[in-house]
Symmetry: C2
Subunit: 243 residues, 2 copies
Amino acid sequence: MTTKTRASSKRATARKPRRGRPPKGASTLSREAITRAALEAIDGGGLEAVSLRVVARRLGVDPSSLYNHVASKDDLLDAVAEHILATFEVPAPTGALEDDLRAIGRAFRRHALEHANATVLVLTRPTISAASLGPLEAILAVLVGAGCTYDKAVHLLRVFMATMLGSVLRDASLSAAFDGEVFASLVRRGAALEASGLEHIVAAAPHLASFDGDAEFDFAVRLATAAIAAELGDADPRKGDRP
Amino acid sequence: MTTKTRASSKRATARKPRRGRPPKGASTLSREAITRAALEAIDGGGLEAVSLRVVARRLGVDPSSLYNHVASKDDLLDAVAEHILATFEVPAPTGALEDDLRAIGRAFRRHALEHANATVLVLTRPTISAASLGPLEAILAVLVGAGCTYDKAVHLLRVFMATMLGSVLRDASLSAAFDGEVFASLVRRGAALEASGLEHIVAAAPHLASFDGDAEFDFAVRLATAAIAAELGDADPRKGDRP
DNA sequence: ACCTGAACACCGTTCAAGT
DNA sequence: ACCTGAACACCGTTCAAGT
């Protein structure tokens, strides 16, 4: 019975929600909006902070309402992964095989890690829809443009993707936990390690402790592209090849 | 009041559990046993089928009892990943760089995919304890044995691991969902793809649709090891290098 | 067509109470 | 020292009831 006649007030937001569809056609709900809200929740609090109830709260809506636009929580997480893949912008090709692969790799890594908490979703869910095939198409274009058959291009594509995904996954996992701290702590308890017969780990510990994701990724991609270029029958692109 | 005096029966298993510690010193509970039970649950029903309550039921124990041996569910999952890594048996080295790396890679892939449902745990959790460093130590040994400095060995190790992890992750993700079906379905709706400007994907679809995990992995590892061998300053190991 | 509220069968985790 | 049972604050999902 409180303040029923104040509906004409400018701030009408305090209206008590009744049953059924909301009277106004505000309709903030859609698959898109839900996906975005879920991604925001993940960005804010990590993967395990996202729940349908949290997403619903964020949208000011009842949890069960989400099921009108999303089949399940799994479906929602797929949508998040797809959303990230679909918004990847492929860098413009220059025509030089190695440069182009490197550029795509770098751009993909940067894009994937932009939502670091969601990266593992992207790498882990086999979300192969048309919207998320941009990166694959771009890499195929570069390989075929370099005179590669489609058969061979697919294999090389897979090698390149594996290298990229493995690197990005490591970065995502590490940044999710404890950056360089992982191996730094190993160095500290070096004595315990020495006893376990891991002599090379102990000897390499200082190098293991320092980790520069960007540089490491570039190195991996450079090696992969060089191997791909060599496999394509070109001369080995490193210097000193024709004496 | 029912059958209280039948305690002397041979089948004493029907004893109603009372409060407190169980009278006998059966003590089936330990971090090891809990980890194994969790892995069995994962093997049987996938990652999302494992819960502390399910693990407890499997051990015939109250869920809260697990907290005497495990700090949290996260801790338990870490223990599972570590268990798998720790039981990896490194193949004996032969002294030939490329052969040895390939052997390690193959063995690791096979071992990781032996518990396919848990593989993503192994790849995703940064579980760097002494017990789980076997693979790293083995790879380092091979690289250093080939005359590599520790500095360079660490970088090459990371490249090799990225290639391996990326490949294994893809296999685990694919096998978790729908094997070759992923791209096979793409082929079917080729028309829809054509409209979205993914010409190379469409052209390569037949090759994308067929996927042999073992062969693909071998190819990736071969390329990676060749690149590593070349980077180490050896002559390019492919034929026809010195005319 | 789409949203609500209540309900169901689960969760992870804590803690006093037991032995 | 270690296990139990109950409790707490959450889950994902379903479904009749509303508009």
